[in-house]
């Protein structure tokens, strides 16, 4: 009957979202008067999940699961949910979880709500608040199936410590053959990704050309931030489309979003609405982005950004 949560890890280490979904699952379990069981695949230290309110961990260790495969992972999570007779299953909103969730929903005959941003407003009927229209609105969604699948939006509820002891049990699911084979993974390991970043530094057409991105990267580097861009910039090929933020690009739910030389088209604003604090640097005081921003600097990016980078370096040195 426990709430089941899929806690993602990478190379044996839990991702931060694993702790966020665990915190969320605990809040749901409290509303339902039950406990939280985690399904954990090839992670090294499952007992750490106890910090976030998980009381039982189904610990899978199998080299066949070293590479992520949506269908296989969905099948493993399904077996865990069935063993635990879980009525609520929680996953995150990483690319991997969004890939496996619809397959898991079919496997469990579970109604699925993605992009959920808060604890259920009611557990009977089961009603959750999710974003819609690419963050231009929220939608209260009722799930009517016996088993419910919730996809939690990143950074929406944060981490909540709820220390308990997690009992770790070995779990050996059957691992089915799968029709999609991963041939190669090409992933930069030394840069912060938009998905993981607490801070995102984003540049627009105001930067005039790809040769000027050095100052964006430098500012991102000081802040341990990811770099991103507006749609015209990726359309022009100045930056890879994986960095495009907006309605047809990536949504950003960072703590701080810094927009440099981006005027703030409605499609771009929709993609960053879920970020907590927005700082805009633009020469044009009439740029629509200033209406959506928390902080703004009206000025030339080519002067403001290097100066801000220096100030932040000094701040960091002082606060190290």
């Amino acid at each position: 009957m426990s709430v089941l949560v899929y806690t993602e890890s990478e190379q044996g280490k839990y991702k931060k979202v694993a702790f966020e979904v665990a915190s969320y699952a605990r809040a749901v379990a409290d509303q339902l008067g039950t406990t939280v069981t985690a399904i954990s695949i090839n992670a090294e230290d499952p007992s750490v999940l106890g910090t976030y309110g998980v009381t039982k961990v189904l610990h899978v260790k199998d080299a066949k699961l070293d590479t992520f495969n949506a269908k296989t992972y969905a099948d493993v999570i399904k077996q865990a949910a069935e063993q635990e007779a879980s009525k609520v299953v929680v996953v995150s909103s990483t690319a991997d979880s969004k890939y496996l969730a619809p397959l898991l929903a079919i496997g469990l005959k579970a109604g699925y709500a993605s992009n959920v941003v808060a604890a259920p407003t009611s557990v009977s009927p089961f009603t959750v608040k999710r974003t819609a229209f690419t963050n231009k609105a929220f939608n209260l969604t009722r799930i009517s199936t016996d088993v419910k699948l919730v996809g939690l939006s990143k950074n929406s509820v944060g981490l909540k410590e709820n220390a308990t002891t997690a009992e770790v049990t070995d779990f050996s699911p059957s691992i089915p053959e799968n029709g999609v084979h991963v041939e190669a993974v090409d992933k930069a390991t030394n840069t912060v990704t938009i998905a993981d970043a607490e801070i995102v530094v984003s540049g627009g057409r105001g930067l005039k050309g790809p040769e000027n991105w050095g100052m964006i990267e430098e500012l991102a580097d000081v802040l341990d931030a990811a770099t991103a861009c507006s749609k015209p910039v990726s359309d022009l090929g100045w930056r890879p489309h994986g960095e495009h933020v907006g309605q047809t690009g990536k949504p950003v739910a960072a703590n701080l979003y810094i927009a440099i030389g981006i005027s703030g088209a409605i499609q771009h604003l929709a993609g960053i609405n879920a970020s907590k604090v927005k700082l805009v640097i633009n020469t044009d005081p009439e740029a629509p982005f200033f209406k959506a921003a928390d902080y703004g600097v009206v000025g030339d990016a080519f002067e403001v950004v290097p100066a801000l980078t220096e100030k932040l370096k000094a701040f960091k040195a002082q606060n190290a």
Partner: protein, 248 residues
């Protein structure tokens, strides 16, 4: 090769979003509807297969008669035929069930659907469709090559990309990157004229379950005015980000 492209009929990306009937319904007043952008990348790639490798391309939408102009636009862009399943798109699962029936009955080799629609952003229809039909599934697809029944694809993952191989029948979740932005087309007069003569088949829905229900909409609370900082006083900006916003 038979390709089916799923087309969502969605508000234009610049639309202001409003609700009616006590915030329970999306207000379509004054809203322009377009082909969901993620579907448009997929449709463009399907047209490439048609022109370079030989394929027939059908488009499909689950919805009322109001979605037909969007399907006609897809025909004007070069699709061979269109299918409308005559039932409102009430939830992702119900839509996937209708599409699964069209997919199976039409013996399609490849189904292309946008990874998510820009209205409800559920991101579930392509995967559920694959799950219901037991087809292979590749999400967030940014490159797709097909040789016979063998498929090589590249998909976007968090912080990089992944090369995968599989076989038809296949469902992909399409997105930006699958084709060059410059390859996206707008319908020309000839295409529009020809689209009028192409078949648009209306199918009655199969009985399908609805698993979720939209109860109410809310708009984000309006935010306060921006705090402007002079470019000559960036120390103040650092101070605000640290002490007030607490983000650094």
């Amino acid at each position: 090769m038979k390709i089916l492209v799923c087309i969502s009929h969605v508000p234009d990306t610049t639309s202001k979003i409003n609700f009616s009937e006590g915030d329970t319904k999306f207000d379509t007043n004054g809203v322009q509807f377009i082909i969901n952008p993620n579907d448009e990348y997929g449709l463009t790639r399907a047209m490439w297969f048609k022109e370079k490798q030989g394929a027939t391309v059908d488009v499909v939408n689950v919805g009322g008669p109001e979605t037909e102009p969007t399907l006609r636009k897809a025909l004007a862009l070069g699709a061979d035929g269109a299918i409308r399943v005559n039932t409102p798109a009430v939830d992702g699962y119900a839509v996937a069930e209708q599409l699964a029936k069209v997919f199976t009955d039409g013996s399609y080799d490849l189904v292309i659907a946008g990874r998510e629609s820009i209205d409800y952003n559920g991101g579930m229809v392509p995967g559920m469709l694959a799950g219901l039909t037991d087809a292979n599934f590749i999400n967030t697809c940014i490159s797709l090559e097909i040789d016979g029944t063998n498929v090589k694809a590249i998909r976007e993952i968090d912080g990089g990309k992944e090369t995968v191989s599989t076989t038809l029948p296949l469902v992909i979740g399409a997105q930006k990157g699958l084709v060059e932005e410059s390859d996206l087309r707008i319908p020309n007069m000839r295409g529009i004229m020809m689209a009028r003569k192409k078949p648009l088949t209306v199918l009655e829905p199969v009985e399908a379950s609805q698993e979720t229900e939209s109860v109410k909409f809310e708009k984000p609370t309006p935010k306060g005015a921006v705090t402007l900082v002079s470019p000559d006083n960036l120390d103040e900006l650092v101070n605000l980000l640290h002490n007030e916003a607490k983000v650094i």
